[in-house]
């Protein structure tokens, strides 16, 4: 530890820390452009200059290591003069186009120029201009505004793992770009917009839409994958205009996947804004009363065993519980949340959770990925694996379809048969797993959506036990979920009860009335034509197209919702805007409908509903934080590890950009899909 005095305040910082970090610890603000605490230090903007006693020149505090007894001044005349001069240099080639720049109002350059710069420029010569680059459908470039801090270059190379950006040429001709024009091939490219301290990289879909001071900012939870990224929902009036990540070190740090960020336009298209009832084979507009009546006519007097409900991937826990309570009141045990037919075992929580936790990845020392492509299934979680890989000394192997995961992976097989070899130690990677102190096994949905899914799960569990991934202080068995709603549904027991039917049976005519709560990933065409289908949800997608009655619900930005991420972390999203037209919050719809049938659900407001949730599954009582778990009970899941077949794994996500009703409705996501998966787009035509 080193004792450093910053502006008269003494702080103690670890050896090797930078002067900037010491100053931050002392509560002193140091202006900066190129420095970012999650990226390597570049030290090229010179904005963070401070005065260090006995040093003749100001030093760049971000790149200057502390020494014991150092005396730092962050607000001396020398520092002020230095900052003013640096600012003047940076602004020499920066255009004065703030009034038409999207970064205006949230621009580091603008703010710091106000705070530390001069009131006028002495520069009279002509400014340079740089050609804009095309980085794809998400990131808009105005390269003349670039101050060459190289944050984007470092982000692409270090965090995103796609070293495609660089600084070409030099001096006045230096440009940031890809040299060969191409779209950035990263699922995290939207973060470049956040990380750019000026208006050089801005959001293409959001261009010229709003000013930051017009926006109301609401804390939300992302639902496009099961990571549960913390987001900020920016709204103006009745519209959600953009989604930004919110800092949560345990979940998403400060990153967000492109689908989660750029699907917002999907919230305004193909929306269900009024009830519809099918009459003579055609859906016609109806009132809530008519719609409720039409459903009630079908349900009243029918045997509970002929009623069924399936919940989708984006549902909040509240609505799923309300639906479960309704179905139970009607005497039905036909409930299921596994639209994709994944052979999840809900017996114990650690059979379906990402037990190591996302932050725990950083403590792992060997990783085996089974039937998953985390880059497409959970890009932010994949960035965490890459972060661990960058820290060094970790062998990573995978079973499944070989793909570029942004870190080197040893592909040791395409089918679960290799699990047997690994367990017996005949496969080369088994050695690495055994030697590791904290090995991790990640089972993806691609491994569970198969006839022998339960056996694969058991085989992975058996391997985890065999290689010492399970101990009282380390739980190395992980299931990577895909759906934001899935864990909450499993926690609430939204599964076939005693004698209940599962998804496949319900679709094949096992029920007469089928209630789909946002369930769009089931094969709607496979639903028996005689089944009466109620679709409750927010988008006119696959489910609504097949429905006999459509009940318009609220999307994730339009309700107070509870979500449980793949780690088992309970998080709350807040209401940001009203659902369009006659659409209502989902649990209220269900409660109102239950009342028309004469079943009063035992809650009148959100609070009592949440109390009931916590009484059914105590995990819902603990919001936000999540203790690290160890493996206590080693009783394996029900499958037979020896029964795995040699059928190759299939990818769970083929097109990252279009996986759910919201992203399928988004024009931005369609453009991404056409850019990044041209083969898929062609096949669809």
């Amino acid at each position: 530890m080193a004792k450093v005095t910053v502006d008269g305040i003494e702080v103690e910082v670890p050896n090797g820390a930078s002067v900037l970090q010491a100053a931050e610890l002392a509560g002193k603000e140091i202006p900066r452009f190129c420095y970012h605490d999650r990226l390597s230090v570049a030290g090229n903007c010179r904005m963070c200059l401070v005065e260090v006693e006995k040093s003749p020149k100001p030093v760049a505090s971000c790149a200057f290591p502390v020494a014991d007894g150092m005396v730092v001044k962050t607000d001396s005349p020398m520092v002020r003069q230095a900052r003013r001069s640096v600012m003047e240099f940076l602004l020499i080639n920066h255009p004065l186009d703030c009034p038409i720049c999207d970064q205006g109002g949230e621009c580091d350059l603008q703010d710091q120029s106000m705070g530390y710069g001069m009131d006028s420029s002495r520069y009279r010569e002509s400014k340079r201009a740089v050609k804009d680059k095309n980085l794809g459908p998400l990131v808009k470039t105005v390269m003349t505004r670039c101050i060459q801090c190289t944050r984007c270059v470092r982000f692409a190379a270090e965090i995103a793992g796609v070293p495609e950006l660089g600084a070409t040429a030099r001096g006045e001709s230096m440009e940031i770009g890809t040299y060969v024009e191409r779209a950035l091939s990263s699922e995290l490219s939207g973060n470049l917009i956040d990380i750019c301290p000026v208006g050089a990289l801005t959001s293409k879909p959001y261009a010229f839409v709003a000013r930051p001071w017009e926006l109301k900012k609401i804390d939300g939870i992302d639902v496009f994958d099961a990571v549960g990224c913390n987001i900020r929902i920016d709204t103006r009036g009745p519209e959600v205009l953009r989604i930004l990540p919110r800092l949560n070190e345990d979940v998403n740090e400060e990153w967000l996947g492109d689908k989660s960020r750029f699907s917002v336009d999907g919230l305004k298209r193909r929306r269900l804004d009024r009830p519809w009832v099918r009459k003579d084979g055609k859906l016609v507009e109806a009132s809530w009363q008519e719609a409720f009546q039409a459903v009630a006519d079908q349900i009243k007097g029918r045997d509970g065993a002929r009623l069924g409900a399936i919940v989708g991937d984006l549902c909040d826990a509240e609505s799923m519980l309300a639906l479960k309570d309704l179905m139970t009141a009607l005497g039905s045990a036909n409930l299921d949340c596994r639209q994709d037919g994944a052979r999840l075992e809900a017996g114990r929580r650690d059979f379906y959770l990402f037990n190591t936790t996302i932050a725990g990845i950083e403590d792992a020392d060997a990783i085996l990925i089974i039937g998953s492509n985390p880059r497409r299934e959970a890009p932010v979680l994949n960035a965490r694996i890459r972060k661990r890989w960058l820290a060094g000394g970790i062998p990573i192997a995978a079973l499944g379809v070989p793909a570029d995961l942004t870190y080197p992976v040893q592909w040791i097989g395409q089918s679960p048969k290799a699990l047997t070899d690994l367990r017996r130690g005949t496969e080369g990677f088994a050695q690495a797993m055994r030697e590791a102190k904290r090995p991790m096994i990640i089972v993806g949905q691609g491994a569970l959506r198969r006839a022998d899914g339960a056996d694969v799960l058991a085989a992975a569990w058996a391997l985890a036990v065999a290689c010492g991934a399970m101990s009282p202080d380390w739980h190395g068995f992980n299931v990577l979920q895909l759906a934001a709603a899935r864990v909450a549904a499993l926690d609430l027991g939204f599964l076939p009860g005693a004698g209940g039917k599962d998804v496949a049976t319900m679709l094949a005519g096992g029920v007469d009335v089928l209630w789909l709560l946002g369930a769009d990933e089931v094969d709607a065409a496979a639903i028996d034509p005689k089944t009466f289908v109620v679709y409750q949800g927010h988008h006119g997608d696959r489910g609504a197209a097949r429905a006999d009655v459509v009940l318009p619900g609220a999307a994730y930005t339009e309700k107070d919702g509870t979500y449980v991420n793949t780690e088992g972390r309970v998080q709350r999203s807040e209401f940001a805007v009203f659902p369009p037209g006659d659409a209502r919050e989902d649990w209220r719809i269900l409660r109102a409908f239950a009342e028309t049938l004469g079943h009063r659900l035992p809650y009148d407001d959100l609070l009592s509903l949440r109390e009931r949730m916590a009484s059914i599954a105590p995990v819902f009582g603990r919001v936000g934080d999540l203790p690290r778990r160890g493996a206590v009970d080693l009783t394996p899941p029900a499958g037979d590890p020896e029964a795995v077949t040699d059928a190759p794994f299939q990818p769970a996500v083929v097109n990252y950009y279009q996986t759910d009703p919201i992203s399928r409705a988004s024009a931005t996501m369609a453009a991404c899909s056409a850019t990044y998966y041209p083969a898929l787009a062609e096949a669809a035509e």
């Binding site: 680059k133 190379a157 660089g166 070409t168 030099r170 001709s173 040299y179 060969v180 024009e181």
Partner: protein, 221 residues
């Protein structure tokens, strides 16, 4: 100066692919040996130079096409953009085709004070090139402006391909260009006749081998 680096600028000239020939391969093997494994990326500069020389042998124009940079990236296991960055940073690498004779005129202060403007003007007049970076209509000459070549004692300098022609003025420049046009480059060095950077009018010190008595080796008597 280097132009904007988008591919469209070079369309048409870009070869579809690039493979190192046997002569280059021999040298690559020797170069890679110098670096420990995992550090091969250090060889990016010599490999870029080899690629440029191979292009000179094969096409008569010393430049590094993108295909060559990609080939180097693959060979050295580094992302292509890292090679592009290096290649565009150094003026010695030409990312566009150049003429057979690449005229690199130094215009930094010492050369400029000693008359580099005359050299530039003569180059323009004789070759028909209008500005830096251009190639003459006959494809023989490309003129670029370079920063200090480190031979200020013989300013001004005109570097042609790898060779320095020194002490240039308008007349010697014109003579040199005519010789190049005839494919008969004169020996490199000072064009004013002096030896290396010796005084222009001949030696003025140490002209006689007269040594004072005390300085002669005594022989240990």
């Amino acid at each position: 100066m280097v132009d904007s680096m988008t591919r469209s600028d070079r369309d048409g000239a870009e070869p579809a692919d690039f493979t190192f020939d046997a002569e280059s391969e021999d040298k690559i093997a020797a170069i890679l040996e110098k670096y420990p494994s995992g550090r091969q990326a250090s060889a990016v500069l010599p490999l870029l130079d080899l690629a440029q020389r191979q292009m000179k042998r094969q096409s008569g124009s010393a430049w590094v096409p993108r295909a060559a940079m990609d080939a180097i990236a693959t060979r050295l296991q580094m992302p292509p953009i890292r090679v592009y960055e290096v290649a565009t940073f150094y003026f010695m690498f030409n990312t566009k085709p150049v003429g057979k004779w690449h005229l690199q005129v130094c215009t930094t202060t010492p050369c400029w004070l000693r008359g580099s403007d005359a050299v530039v003007d003569t180059c323009k007049r004789v070759t028909g090139i209008r500005q830096f970076g251009e190639t003459s209509a006959d494809g023989l000459f490309t003129m670029t402006e370079v920063e200090c070549l480190g031979a200020c004692v013989n300013a001004p300098i005109l570097q042609v391909n790898d060779d320095f022609y020194e002490d240039m003025d308008a007349a010697t420049t014109e003579k040199l260009l005519e010789a190049l046009r005839q494919n008969a480059p004169p020996p490199p060095g000072s064009m004013s006749g002096r030896q290396a950077s010796a005084p222009a009018g001949g030696p003025i010190t140490l002209t006689a081998l007269e040594f004072p008595e005390s300085a002669t080796p005594s022989g240990g008597e």
